[in-house]
């Protein structure tokens, strides 16, 4: 009788076997899975506001209005020259190139590779990034050499009463 497996209480308070109602694990396997699913649901739902923010941002990009900003006077920029400015914010450096008598192009000049400032090479008639020799077509802003793969964001300019103004940034289309 003494070697029988009938000790009371039978010592089986462990994770794999418990038959006492009051020792029921708070977090059994099923509860754990439910917790996982619930947490996933909470994460999913809590990410929705960011989706709304992103949607709002994307919806508003096409018609983002900035106050027009004077870049330079026509007198002070010769044909084939460039001038640096900042648009729309004070840290968004940009460059204006006068290609001909009436043709001006402007780009935000942070290189699309690693954001080095792109400058205008008058001799080669191309825009060059000095860091890794990325080159951009001055007419379109499209890269044609070096590491950058995306065009420079173009700034729409307009000429009014002897000065060049930056109006808006064209939306980047992939």
């Amino acid at each position: 009788m003494t070697d029988k497996n009938n000790k009371i209480p039978f010592d089986e308070d462990n994770y794999t076997h418990n038959i006492n109602r009051n020792n029921e694990r708070k977090l059994d396997r099923r509860g754990f899975m439910k917790t996982l699913v619930g947490a996933a649901g909470v994460f999913a739902v809590s990410s929705l506001p960011w989706g709304a923010v992103a949607a709002k941002e994307l919806a508003g990009l096409s018609d983002k209005k900035y106050p027009k900003q004077k870049i330079t006077d026509i007198k002070s920029i010769a044909v084939g020259d460039a001038v640096d400015f900042a648009f729309p914010g004070e840290h968004d450096s940009a460059i204006l190139v006068r290609l001909s008598e009436n043709k001006y192009v402007a780009y935000q000049n942070a290189c699309t590779h690693l954001r080095c400032p792109v400058f205008w090479d008058k001799k080669e008639e191309e825009m060059i990034c000095p860091c890794h020799h990325g080159k951009f077509n001055v007419n379109t802003g499209v890269p044609f050499a070096g590491p950058p793969r995306r065009p420079l964001p173009e700034i729409v300019v307009k000429v009014e009463n002897g000065a060049v103004y930056a109006v808006r940034v064209k939306r980047y289309e992939a």
């Binding site: 009938n6 000790k7 009371i8 039978f10 038959i19 109602r21």
Partner: protein
């Protein structure tokens, strides 16, 4: 005031009131969870009720791979939890008294749970409250002690069989002649 079920088997008149009460009981879905046995079929008319002995160390619960059978704090061994029972019928094999019944339709074991909704609040189980012959009684430990003193237990233990199949049980049974070692079981 903790009370236990006490079966005074020689009182049984075979009226099956306990079966009817269990069948009619709420939540039992017209299925009774207890038994009335012929003690000596074809020899005499003596019957005995048996619901579940609610072992201290229940073989059914220990055999259950899903731990669907739980021991309540009152000592009652509950019926299989619907959400856990996998219908393997291990308990029906493990139980030395043949208590657990199996519902093949629901794929679920069901057994007496001492009417836990009643007995946890000190109300006697349905079978005890309807028994007309005082076979199934709902007694406090001191009353059971008094009953126990009526017998000369030759092993000093209050168990359901000699030599006992299982350990101690929460339901106390008097087995006239057997506990005294006077009558042979088989």
């Amino acid at each position: 005031m903790k009370k236990r079920l006490y079966l005074e088997l020689e009182n049984c008149i075979g009226c099956r009131s306990c079966l009817a009460a269990c069948t009619q009981c709420g939540g039992h879905e017209e299925r009774n969870r207890n038994y009335v046995y012929d003690v000596n079929p074809l020899v005499n008319r003596q019957t005995m009720p048996l619901m579940c002995l609610h072992c201290e160390n229940p073989a059914c619960a220990r055999s259950c791979p899903a731990q669907a059978i739980q021991i309540h704090e009152t000592g009652a061994v509950l019926s299989a939890l619907v959400e856990k029972c996998i219908g393997c019928q291990n308990c029906t094999i493990a139980c030395p008294y043949g208590i657990p019944k199996f519902d093949t339709e629901q794929n679920l074991m069901y057994k007496c749970d001492m009417c836990i909704d009643r007995s946890k609040d000190g109300i006697p189980p349905m079978c005890a409250s309807v028994c007309p012959s005082n076979t199934i009684q709902w007694l406090s430990d001191s009353e059971i002690e008094a009953k126990k003193n009526q017998f000369n237990l030759n092993n000093g233990k209050w168990v359901t069989s000699m030599p006992f199949l299982e350990g101690e049980t929460n339901v106390k049974v008097n087995l006239p002649g057997i506990l005294q070692g006077v009558t042979k079981l088989f």
